[in-house]
């Protein structure tokens, strides 16, 4: 969050036509510039960024330091490639532009993209570096493209002359796989001297990882950060619950086989179990809708507690696809708040033919399996018991979910 005025020096010399960085060196550079501008303005709204080109007919300032991102991006259009890069003049003009910045409280920084050979002497470069240091201007150097002997040496000498307390950095980007922008995102140029990544950088990294056009959940974190955050948090909570559900289900299975008939009474176990019942309906459900509803259901008190012991073999099938399982539970659970509809459900389950047909459709379950048959018997007996114990269980339910969620 440092208040900073930045001048970006772009190399638009002939060497930028090369395609060793996809799609061309110049385009990769332009993408990186866009990212940097965004990151700077995001990290502190009062930051200003300016751009100048070093090659072409001569050093030309495209835009003086401004916080208007649109203006900055617009000036990147229609840039022509040609000529030779003049590093010394470029840096000096950048320094001058920074000197005349409007808000004198801003720290001064120059970011140089260096993609072509440097024709200046090392001594001159060092002198420029010292002058920058004297005027407390920080310098970031991005070395890419042409590598001739002496270029790296000169740039390292420049960095050594400028560097004051690690405020200046150099990044070498080799040709090859990843884009220029991707390499830069992990560097201190973006993460800002150890402050930790700015939110923009993190989001940009996520976007880059997932394909440049895609944002998670179709929401641009930059446009609506709160919504994006809420969606992300709820998805993670869901995933955590599903994992817990799968775990509990396997635990339940172990308990059941040992002959313990204790009701575990966890919501997760119940959901997993119910999911098995309605597996056949899976294909018809809209996943997004189901997930949302399921989230809603979780927050509501679940009155059905009687099914917890019935989830033994079925839990395996459910564990294979916990998301679907939960979705099903949800769809089944709509309207199961009333005890009347509950008894409907239990009646449904008690209907053995229905249950066995469903079991047949489940991938991992063989209806003729003796353990499954035992299960079905237990279901029937339990249903009758449960109807009478409903009210007492309801109270237990309210307590148990709270314990689970801790």
């Amino acid at each position: 969050m440092v208040l900073e005025a930045t001048m970006i020096c772009i190399d638009n010399s002939e060497w930028m036509r090369n395609g060793d960085y996809a799609p061309s060196r110049f385009q990769a550079q332009a993408d990186a510039v866009n990212l940097i501008c965004g990151a700077k303005t995001q990290s502190n709204p009062e930051n200003t960024v300016g751009i100048l080109t070093m090659a072409g007919k001569g050093v030309r300032v495209l835009v003086t330091p401004t916080s208007d991102l649109g203006k900055i991006l617009a000036c990147m259009h229609g840039l022509e490639i040609g000529g030779e890069m003049n590093l010394a003049s470029g840096i000096q003009v950048a320094q001058l532009a920074l000197k005349h910045r409007q808000n004198k409280k801003q720290q001064q920084r120059i970011i140089v993209f260096c993609g072509s050979p440097i024709k200046h002497e090392k001594k001159l470069i060092e002198m420029i570096g010292r002058k920058l240091k004297k005027n407390s201007v920080a310098l970031d150097i991005i070395n890419f493209g042409e590598q001739d002997d002496g270029k790296i040496e000169k740039l390292e000498a420049l960095l050594a002359a400028v560097n004051n307390n690690d405020t200046s950095h150099i990044v070498h980007v080799p040709t090859g796989s990843s884009a220029l922008s991707d390499v830069l995102i992990n560097t201190p140029i973006f993460t800002g001297d150890g402050e930790g990544g700015s939110g923009f950088a993190a989001a940009a990294a996520a976007a880059a990882a997932g394909g440049l056009s895609g944002f998670d959940f179709g929401v641009d974190p930059n446009l609506d950060p709160e919504l994006a955050l809420a969606l992300r948090v709820s998805m993670e909570e869901e995933r955590a619950r599903q994992e817990a559900a799968a775990k509990k289900a396997t635990e339940e299975a172990a308990k059941q086989e040992k002959g313990e008939g204790q009701p575990s009474g966890t919501q997760d176990a119940m959901m997993t179990e119910r999911a098995n019942v309605a597996t056949s309906e899976v294909d018809n459900k809209d996943d997004e809708n189901a997930l949302l509803q399921q989230a809603l259901a979780m927050s509501m008190d679940d009155p059905d507690s009687g099914h917890e012991t019935r989830d033994t073999d079925m839990s395996d099938a459910a564990a294979d696809d916990p998301e679907l399982a939960l979705a099903l539970q949800l769809s089944v659970q709509d309207g199961t708040k009333d005890s009347s509809s509950q008894s409907d459900l239990s009646k449904l389950l008690a209907d053995q033919s229905f249950v066995s047909s469903i079991l047949a459709s489940l991938p991992g379950v063989d209806p003729n399996d003796p353990s499954v048959k035992n299960l079905l018997d237990s279901i029937q007996s339990q249903t009758e018991v449960r109807a009478s114990n409903l009210s007492s269980q309801q109270k237990n339910e309210e307590k148990e979910p709270k314990e689970d969620e801790k």
Partner: protein, 176 residues
């Protein structure tokens, strides 16, 4: 301007260190380990081991804003004989000066320090030029030895405030 002895200083002058606005104090080309508070702040400046040192070359540009308007009477600079400052230019009420534009304006006053002054003798300035000072810029142009590093042990400013003169704050200025 004369490098007079301390007897020329009037007794009513006050050490202006209390009126310095520390939030706006800046120093260009200072070394990070040897920074301005070493020379300016009460306590640090008395310690001759703690110096303000220059970094890339021998020049230093110090900007000192004040919390209220003051009249500046005299200046005291203490430094080692070799690397202590030689030519010191003072600019009154000029903000945000850089090494580039330091030669664009005539200084309000210039002081050439002798090795004698570097021992801590106050230098009387052109009082008439410093009647209404909101901020002071001190430009140390070179040092005695000509080396790349200029060292300053103490900088003290003496004068009076314009609006109020705090009678309790008036202290006798000892002869050095």
């Amino acid at each position: 301007m004369s490098g007079d002895s301390a007897s020329a200083i009037q007794r009513s002058q006050v050490d202006l260190v209390d009126f310095i606005d520390w939030s706006g104090v800046e120093c260009l080309n200072q070394s990070t380990s040897h920074s301005l508070p070493n020379a300016l702040k009460q306590g640090y400046r008395e310690d001759d081991g703690l110096n303000l040192e220059s970094d890339a070359d021998e020049q230093l540009l110090i900007y000192i804003p004040f919390t209220q308007v003051i009249k500046l009477h005299s200046l005291l600079i203490k430094g080692p004989e070799e690397e202590g400052p030689k030519t010191v230019k003072l600019y009154s009420n000029k903000e945000n000066m850089g090494f580039g534009n330091v030669n664009d304006f005539p200084p309000s006053d210039t002081a050439v320090l002798s090795p004698d002054s570097l021992k801590g003798k106050p230098i009387v300035l052109k009082y008439v030029k410093f009647q209404n000072v909101r901020s002071l810029t001190i430009f140390i142009e070179d040092n005695h030895s000509g080396s790349d590093i200029t060292k300053v042990q103490k900088i003290a400013l003496f004068g009076t405030t314009v609006e109020t003169t705090d009678m309790k704050g008036l202290k006798k200025i000892e002869d050095h």
